[in-house]
Amino acid sequence: MAEFKLKIRRFDPESGTAPYWDEHTVDLEPHRSVLEGILQARNEKDGSIGVRCSCRSAICGSCGVRVNGKPGLACHTHLDDALASAGEDGVIEVEPMGNMPIIKDLIVDMDAVHWKKIQRVTPWLIGKEPVPEREYIVSRESMIDVTQSMACIQCGACVSDCLSMEVDPLFVGPAALAKTYRFVGDPRDAAHEQRLKDLGDDKHGIYDCTHCFKCIEACPKGVAPMNQIMRLRRIAGNDFHIKDRNNGERHEAAFVKNIEKNGILHEADLLPDSYGGKFHPRAVPELISSLPIVMTALLRRKMTPAKALLHPHRAPDGVKKIYEVVEGRDQRNEFNLYISGTDADNEGTAEVAEAIEAAEPAGVAPDGSAGSSA
């Protein structure tokens, strides 16, 4: 057994008093979880500590908190690890998650934010018509593709730390968008385009994410919500050519073209092109509003008129060739490490597969039924 100091953020909105820190010393094995520490403090020191938990095995998603400022599951964080990431005073700080109102102490209102956003994206399968007489048949690969987004346990850790939501509470957010990919990536779903169109029409939809990687870092299950958002954009822009209200698709197209032409980014073209070109009705007010800044930048010789208007750099042939080959493919090539693993991870698996195949009588699976050994 060892002693650990826990500093717990306390707040009861109905009390009228401001939030405060409460410190307790708990006595537990170092490999025990922060949740067990909180529960010991509650059971032995102060029964009024508010904390939500259920399975204690990192699968129910109830005990999302921030430990030393980082979001995660209290039951999935060892006390010794938490101590190692604590400040110099050796006190483990436990706070409620962010971006959601506090109900009491470590319990946040998941209904008010997280679940509303999940409901926002129609989180169920919209089946194709006509409904097949028996089950939908889908390929194995296509279901593997959505397993990463299916790994979500709805703990809200990504929502807690989303930096876009911090300034724009209406942002649909990482958890709900990862859930969207779960259906947009599912071949049985009939509403891929409508789902994406809906989230493109929403100014706080798929193009409101800043690529800050906070959700990837926060997720205790490896869902990588930001990567799922990028996949939604890829499908919305490339497959359905959806013109969203944020100019996201235009910006992406302008950027990709800019590099094809110049090899390196020519920023002076990117801005107007992101709004549809220098003379596009959407671009004109944007350009006028940025004029004072442009003038200051010119005055300070941050940029020169020549640099802004001319294109001194042309893409090397090698870059053009890359565009020709990759953009010319019939199908987009997407290498997902979560699914494929690295060569090092997979070392030996081919031999194992061969060994299994060799051990099985041809055409008969281990359960005796006829089938392939794939």
Binding site: D168, T210, V256, P292, R300, M303, I322, R329, L337, G341
Partner: protein
Amino acid sequence: MKVAYWPGCVSRGFTSELHGSMAAVAPMLDIELVELDRANCCGAGVIAEHSQELADTLNARTFALAQQEITQGADLMMNICSTCQGAQSECQQRLDASADYRAQVNETLADEGLEYQDGIINKNFLWVLVEDIGLDKLKTLVRQPLTDLRVGPFYGCYIVRPTDRLDINRAQPRDEYLGQVIETLGGTVIDYAGSHKCCGFPIITMNKAASLEQAGRHLGDAVDAEADCLVTPCPLCHLNLDLQQPMAAKQVGRELNMPVLHLPQLVGLALGISPEDLGLQHHIVKPTSVIDWSQAVVGGVGGW
């Protein structure tokens, strides 16, 4: 040391003072820069959003060009942009993970006679400064310590997350390096809420209000923490924090006037290079607080 140097796009465009200050600082740190002038944009996450293979192949091309320099004696590849670091590391992770995938990408590069071999070392100047040059050596080179200068670090998302991909851990706390550098240069590190947050730049054309709100909030937090200036290793953050600062101030409804320095500029000041040679006169927010300080020591910039 000799490095295959990838300056990035923005450091040669709207923040050309960054490229210039790196060139001014490098010889004093004994870094020989071999510029990768045929290399291409890293895609800044936007090209990957369009096509992952396109981004991976474009960056494999840059890596292959850098490896040619490494074969001829360069120690590693160095960049001066957090976004390049993050976008390139992401592509490298995929390229290094699978020999089959790498072979496919290399097939596209073959026409140009290029081939990427896994395992390139590509580091931001910040990492080179701490890991390869070393803080002890840096300390001996300081001519004008940044005494009494209160500096807030601003990292940029791409250089601090995700921690596993960027090899950030307790033994290698790359997400604390800016603070270590500021201290080594004699300055005071300011702790404020925004240091590791997003500047908002990636959505400046998509949701301007939210983008400027992020920049404005972090700058305001730095003002409240009484920082004299911020320092960043990311030119894209610099665009939102400096170039767009007047707009950000409007968005958050308060005066900001927070100078934002590029990392090589801060290093250069401490090494005794004049503010003018570091291009500080090109900033939108005049670094008056910094210059007041350097006037006392360096003797003024003049001319602007």
